[in-house]
Amino acid sequence: MTPTITLSHINKVYANGTVALQDMNLEIGASQFVSLVGPSGCGKSTALRIIAGLGQMSSGQLEWGQGRTPKLAYVFQEAALMPWATVQDNVRLPLTLAKMPKREAMAAVEESIAMVGLQGFEKCYPRELSGGMKMRVSIARALVTKPDVLLMDEPFAALDEMTRSRLNSDLLSLWSQLRWTVIFVTHNIYESVYLSQRVVVMAARPGRVVADVAIAAPYPRDEEFRTSLDYNHYCRDVSHHLAEASLKGSDRDLQIVTL
């Protein structure tokens, strides 16, 4: 049901000459959970924005399998909630914009809020919530349209470690039920290994893909996985690729640091 995504030879050059993406090729299968990992400036967010249609590519091709553009949802690094609206109204926003009748919309909103475990907070305003809860609202808003593809741009980067790992587990359990295709941008190696089936490692200047690491560990992944030898092995592998990428890269600063 969920479509595949194929990026072929995508280039993105900004007006000031910065090459954000150079010949990016990536194929993402249906219902896959893929992470894009890399240092800042490697174009991972740019790639995500291009997939979402929020940014234009300079050249290349973006293809959706099954020939149709799927329903997308996007989660930003900040919760990006409307401060004047309650949790309920924030979650309902995508449906309001799609002019869905209120009764139908409210049912979907209720379901979505329940999914992220925020029952009882429907009438609260964002300022009354903690950072983790705001992010849950943001995820509920993304899920309310029943999307096929979930694009997440460093969604938990601003949260503390405990909240982050809790949200990671919850995200995984939702994914195993609903099986969207997920593209998850992060700069956290451990998070990417814990969550994904594939970790795509990117390097900066110019932004490009340098490695594609398959994480073969089975789901559900519990807390035990986080301390397992396998997990450590994968983390080392990914971080090795990252270090290698910065060595090979044309970035002078990074080279000096590694010398």
């Binding site: 249609g53 996007y74 990006a80 409307m82 029952q119 429907e122 919530l129």
Partner: protein, 324 residues
């Protein structure tokens, strides 16, 4: 005029005091519930969370009156008035140079019959000009933000209108609208009042969270939907800030225009009373009229502050009471 400023603070405080039914942040929110994973289901309704938590953050009325926020400026005001009265008595100041506060107050009461109708006239001009400024200011700002070209082309002229001294152009406007002095006064007050609203609201409409703009774009929101659901609510605090500035300015604009218009027309405002009192050396009466104008300005400001706090109380930092 120190005293009037103190009085302004006092009145704003009083109005805060009288504001009832402030929201308490639902005390039942457990900030750690997202860590423990247990989210209580019984915290839905506001009334429910009220019954759970007694309104701790609402001190009693007497306590609030005795709070330093009210006591301190109140004391300063009383002292200043007393000093003024004493000064007038000690120096034997003739009332046509500086009347004492008691005399001013007595004059206010004895001339209430003439002053109050004048106040109503000025107030009418002020309110009509203010409401027109609020509506037209909002519409113009919305127009500005719909196209960069419209903003570029017309914003400088809004600035020019603002920087032209109203005293200088009021005679022209009054001459042009010869048949209708009342309308001329409104136009003058409107010119003074509308710019802060346009300027502030335009800023607000352009200060929308970029992530939210992206989100609206992603969900293919129309221009109209973006305006209604995103830009206008975002601009609300700015618009209300503009209103607070413009309220006082509309009053000043009305009084200045009345000064320029002089004694013309059957309906005469407070400026006319001040002028006449000045001609007749009835300085206490002049002070009484001045006091009415200032008090009106303070009341307008207080009302708009209340409106702003009422509309923003749920979400904007400016209207949220700190608990510590």
């Amino acid at each position: 005029m120190m005293f009037w400023r103190q009085l302004a603070v006092l009145i704003v405080e009083l109005q805060n005091l009288l504001r009832m039914g402030r929201i308490n942040p639902p005390a039942s929110i457990n900030l750690f519930s997202n860590l423990s994973g247990k989210v209580s289901r019984s915290t839905g309704s506001r009334t429910r969370s009220r019954t759970i938590s007694p309104p701790k953050f609402r001190p009693s009325l007497i306590r609030r009156v005795l709070s330093p926020d009210i006591l301190a400026p109140g004391a300063v005001g009383v002292l200043a008035i007393a000093a003024w009265e004493i000064f007038v008595h000690v120096t034997n100041m003739p009332p046509y140079l500086l009347p004492g506060p008691i005399l001013v107050f007595q004059t206010l009461i004895s001339s209430w019959g003439e002053l109050f109708p004048s106040l109503l006239v000025t107030l009418k001009v002020t309110l009509i000009a203010f409401i027109t400024a609020a509506i037209s200011g909002l519409l113009i700002s919305v127009l500005f933000t719909q196209s960069k070209w419209i903003e570029r082309s017309f914003f400088p002229y809004a600035v020019i209108l603002q920087t032209t001294p109203i005293v200088a152009i009021a005679p022209l406007i009054i001459m042009w609208l010869k048949n209708d002095t009342f309308l001329a006064l409104i136009v003058c007050a409107w010119i003074v009042a509308f710019f802060p609203i346009v300027s502030n609201t335009t800023l607000g409409l352009n200060s929308v969270d970029h992530n939210l703009i992206n989100l609206f774009h992603l969900y293919r929101a129309s221009r109209w939907q973006t305006l209604i659901y995103l830009r206008l609510p975002s601009a609300m605090p700015y618009f209300l800030g503009g209103l607070k500035i413009s309220g006082g300015l509309a009053l000043i604009g009305a009084v200045v225009a009345e000064f320029v218009a002089g004694t013309g027309g059957s309906q005469s405002g407070l400026a006319y009373q001040i002028l006449m009192a000045g001609y007749n050396l009835q300085i206490p009466r002049m002070f009484a009229a001045l006091f009415m104008i200032t008090l009106t300005g303070v009341l307008i400001f207080a009302c708009l502050t209340w409106l702003s706090n009422f509309l923003l109380k749920e979400w904007h930092e400016s209207a949220i009471k700190r608990e510590n």
